[in-house]
């Protein structure tokens, strides 16, 4: 069991670091997806640990939510791209201090 959770945590951490170091909004978003996937792995593993399917249901919900989120996120990114011709998150820094 431990190894699954450990893997999940490693993936999660890698995803989190990815969010911090990548500048392309789409890649940043992919990193978030990676984190979601890592979470799903945890859900599924815990589901097996506890012997109930709630975790799997949760993973299923996460997938649906992720789908919706991706749509919204990508459309926001696209609309910004149309305006700025850039997908770098660093360029969007007018609002500050």
């Amino acid at each position: 069991m431990n190894e699954y959770i450990t893997l999940s945590l490693i993936l999660f951490t890698i995803g989190a670091v990815g969010v911090l170091v990548r500048r392309n909004a789409i890649v940043v978003f992919m990193c978030i997806e990676l984190m979601l996937n890592a979470t799903n792995l945890a859900f599924v593993s815990f589901s097996r640990q506890h012997g109930n399917l709630d975790g799997q249901v949760a993973a299923f919900f996460v997938m649906v939510v992720a789908a919706a989120e991706v749509v919204v996120g990508l459309s926001i990114i696209v609309s910004i791209y149309r305006t700025r011709r850039s997908t770098s998150v660093d360029d969007a820094s007018l609002l500050k201090s």
Partner: protein, 539 residues
């Protein structure tokens, strides 16, 4: 694995029991939202705007009426627990006093915000939202869209979805539903943030930031849920509570879960160090959306926070209370201090909302649940009242922000507000009133709210936190007072600000907010009793 069993061999799945009567308000709002989407598809453009407004407003009013009905109908389940209400929808929701009270205030915030959404007089007959979000700012097609006066009437169903998400969030009884609710409330808000008519770049930037950070935080929240599940084997708050009480499972997992779940919720209420999105998003978003967000999200998220921590993690409160204390102090202090050097009204209000999150956390950390048979102000009731007052004042303040304009739309730079009191004393007076309420000056609702949360903290044994709280309040008062100085005691620069004459909608919002702020300060009794009557969370 018997994956290949044919369907007929399986026992039928039991139909779920849904207490429609109890969940009426949720379904009304959801229905109104869906209706809005349908209208979007089929209704003629000419009258679509007002139809959407009517659907939204009527829907909210109906839901509000239903909420009142539900609230009065809640039964006293257990006299000892002083909790009223029941767990509904197969354990997904707990329709209890605090939850339904939150529905009520959320619906009121929603209603007021819808009125602001519907204001069309300020932009020469168009709403505050961009006509066609897909156009690049400044492009010819945008000009065409403006010429043809197209509007995104989708904002109404989107706001209604967010509203229903908030309501769901506040009453979720299991973490999974809570997660879904979190997303339901967040996604529309991400979208709404990017739809400002003026200053499109800022608006889009706000949407992007809100979205990325929101998604980032909700992943942590989700991982927290996973760990909680790993700990307790269930998503239900009461089951987690049982596990916590029995101390079964790995302590570490519980603690990590608490930390991560806290992150997601603290992000939504804008507590430090998860507040960084707040100023940018508040500033960039269209002002009516900011108003809606500031009032609604904070209320929903706070009640969810209280619910999770009191119901599920109540048994390990000695573990998490120090953490919340630290966060409360940092949040109050940071919000109050940084707002001093702000030059933009909306940013200042954002930092102020951070500071208020800190004050609310002070009440939360008291974790005072009251004793049976006593009328004492509890953490829950004081938080409910504070949220009510803060929301009302906030909406009022943002409504006024929409009225102070120059040729480029709203003029939010504070220097442009100089001398407003001379030009338009009533408006400036109302804004000053909201500022005083934020500062917690007596005879305004903010004072009673502060009193409540401090008393809860005090009851919970944190008198020294109360002292820190009042000192930070004084700091915070400094910048509210500065705005008043600017409006009333400073001469306007050049021509000074222009105050647009709003339609009845915004006027009504401001008047209601002002009356509410004063009313809650002078006769807080009814609302306070209502909050008090809400009792504890059901488990």
């Amino acid at each position: 694995m018997k994956t290949l069993i044919t369907a007929t061999d399986l026992p039928p799945i039991k139909a779920p029991e849904i207490e429609y009567a109890l969940l009426g308000p949720l379904f009304i709002i959801a229905g109104a939202a869906v209706l809005g989407v349908i209208i979007e598809a089929f209704w003629p453009r000419a009258t679509r705007f007002w139809t959407q407004v009517v659907v939204a407003v009527v829907g909210i009013i109906a839901a509000l009426a239903d909420t009142v009905w539900v609230y009065t109908d809640l039964d006293k389940v257990d006299a000892d627990l002083v909790a009223r209400g029941k767990v509904a929808a197969e354990g997904a929701l707990s329709v209890d006093g605090p939850g339904v009270f939150t529905w009520g205030i959320l619906l009121v915030f929603g209603l007021l915000s819808m009125l602001l959404f519907a204001e069309r007089r300020l932009e020469g007959g168009m709403s505050a939202f961009t006509g066609r979000a897909a156009d690049a700012p400044g492009s010819a097609s945008e000009a065409e869209a403006i010429k043809l006066r197209v509007e995104h009437t989708e904002v109404f169903p989107l706001a209604l979805f967010a509203l229903v998400g908030m309501m769901l969030f506040a009453t979720s009884n299991d973490l999974l539903t809570m997660f879904v609710a979190l997303e339901v409330l967040s996604l529309p808000l991400y979208l709404l943030c990017g739809l400002a008519r003026r200053r499109r770049l800022l608006s889009q930037e706000a949407a992007l930031k809100y979205f990325l950070l929101g998604a980032f935080s909700s992943v942590f929240f989700l991982y927290g849920i996973a760990l909680a599940y790993g700990y307790a084997g269930s998503f239900e708050l009461s089951a987690i509570d049982t596990a916590v009480s029995n101390r079964s499972g790995s302590e570490n997992m519980l603690l990590a879960s608490i930390a991560l779940i806290a992150v997601g919720l603290l992000f939504k209420i804008g507590a430090a160090p998860f507040h960084t999105w707040t100023p940018d998003v508040y500033q960039g978003a269209p002002t009516p959306v900011t108003a809606f967000m500031a009032a609604g999200t904070k209320a929903a998220a706070f009640i969810a926070l209280l619910r999770v921590f009191f119901v599920a993690f109540g048994g390990s409160q000695w573990d998490w209370r120090p953490m919340i204390v630290a966060i409360a102090i940092i949040t109050m202090f940071l919000g109050a201090v940084v707002s001093i050097s702000q030059t933009d009204v909306k940013r200042m209000l954002a930092y102020s909302s951070i500071a208020h999150a800190g004050f609310l956390l002070v009440g939360f950390v008291g974790a005072y649940a009251g004793v049976a048979g006593s009328d004492r102000v509890t953490s829950v009731s004081s938080t409910l009242f504070y949220l009510t007052v803060y929301g009302i004042s906030s909406i009022g303040a943002f409504a006024i922000v929409t009225l102070v304009r120059d040729s480029g739309g709203e003029t939010t730079h504070l220097s442009k507000w100089a001398g407003l009191g001379k030009k338009s004393p009533w408006l400036a007076g109302a804004f000053a009133l909201f500022m005083l309420s934020f500062a917690g000056i007596p005879l305004t609702g903010g004072f009673i709210g502060k009193w409540g949360v401090f008393s809860a903290a005090y009851s919970g044994g944190f008198w020294w936190l109360v002292v820190i709280g009042v000192l930070v309040s004084a700091l915070a008062a400094y910048f509210y007072v500065r705005v008043i100085v600017l409006m009333f005691f400073t001469d306007p620069v050049g021509d000074g600000p222009t105050v647009a004459v709003p339609s009845l909608l915004t006027t009504v919002v401001i008047i209601i907010a002002a009356l509410g702020t004063v009313g809650l300060g002078i006769i807080p009794g009814p609302v306070l009793d209502l909050a008090q009557h809400a009792g504890a969370f059901v488990r």
